[in-house]
Structures are given as C-alpha cells and as structure tokens.
Symmetry: C2
Subunit: 114 residues, 2 copies
C-alpha cells in the first residue's frame, strides 16, 4: 500500500472503504484519493487492490453501484452503503478496535510481566 505499512493491512482496506462510504456515496477514484489525503499519504490505495475490493463488496451485497457524473464532469460509478454494509462496518470497526488493542497489549507489555 504505502511507503512502509504494506506489511500490515489485510481486511483493513474493506473496512476503510466502508467507513469512507458511510459519510456519503463516492466513486472508487475518490475513495482512494480521500483515504490518502486523510492519512497524509501514510496509506496509499493501489487501484489493483481497490477495484477488486469494490467488486467483492458489491457481490457481497454490502455496497451498491450506480453510474453518475462527477464534479469534474466525468462518468463514474458511485458506490453507496447498503443496510448490510452498515452492519458490517459496525462489526468490522469493533473487530479492528479489539484487534488493535490486543496487538498494543503485546507491544506495550513490560518484560517483567511475562
């Protein structure tokens, strides 16, 4: 994905796509640009990862797509969260918190406690 953190990431792409769409419908290109901007380019979204992920989310019924015109007057597919997508987002967000917390626990535990 980026500079360095290509090591981690897994499932987090789906989560961030869903989160981005929770604010408003958006097209793939815009989602990628926004995530990069929001994280000061720490997270770079590759198109080869993005579009397959988007299609999979659509197949799973978590998002729906509709063709439209962007502010730049270009044809684009706008994605929107479905109710199932909202539920998935909530669940994934909770899982992430749980997971990240667990990793932090390991990373911050002092030697003595072992």
């Amino acid at each position: 994905m980026a500079d360095a953190p290509t090591e981690f990431l897994k499932g987090t792409l789906d989560l961030m796509i869903l989160k981005t769409l929770s604010w408003a419908p958006a097209h793939g290109y815009g989602i990628a640009r926004w995530i990069e901007h929001c994280t000061d380019d720490v997270l770079e979204v590759e198109e080869g990862s993005l579009y397959p992920a988007l299609h999979k989310l659509e197949d799973d019924g978590l998002i729906t797509a509709e063709w439209g015109i962007t502010e730049h007057n270009r044809r684009a597919k706008f994605y929107r969260l479905t109710p199932a997508g909202k539920r998935r987002l909530a669940a994934s967000h909770a899982y992430w918190a749980r997971f990240a917390g667990a990793v932090s626990k390991v990373l911050e535990t002092a030697p003595a406690s072992a």
Copy 2:
C-alpha cells in the same frame, strides 16, 4: 487467527513474535501460549502459521534457534533475537504505530471534515 480478528493480521504475527522474544528466548509453543494469554485469547496463534513464520524469521537472520530442554523437561527449540532482529522489531513497531494511527484517523474522522 481468532474468534474474529482473523480478518486483520498480516505482518503483525512476525511483529508479535519478535516482541515476545525481546523479553527472553522462548520456544514456539511458549510464544504462542504467551501471546494468547497476554491478549486474553483475543489473538490465537495457530501452529500452521507460527512454525512457518518462525522458520522464515530464522532464514532471514532475525532470530536464531538452539535445541534445549524446557521447564517441563521436554525437548524444544529455543529462539533468540539477533541484532538484526532487534532492529527489525524497532522498525516494525514504528511502522505499526504509523499504520494503526492512520487507520484510526480514517475511522474516527467525522463526516463534516471530508
């Protein structure tokens, strides 16, 4: 890996192994048990993931192995961090902080700021 967070994880297994070994040398089985214990079983380390990871870290020169006897009087391979492993741990730890921070930024940004 576990209950739920099998979605995330990637690279984090290596990181947690290195971190565990930074306290003291340990054998595979012990590393797995300790990570599970430390995270209240949020993270479950599967053997099918653990041993290949251990072998890879050894091939990469980040850890070294030596046969010994455990406190249970059983034959076990004890792994120890190499200087390169310590450097990798520091770098990965920093990457993780950077990555987790970026994900949190996306997850916690309010709609209005987009």
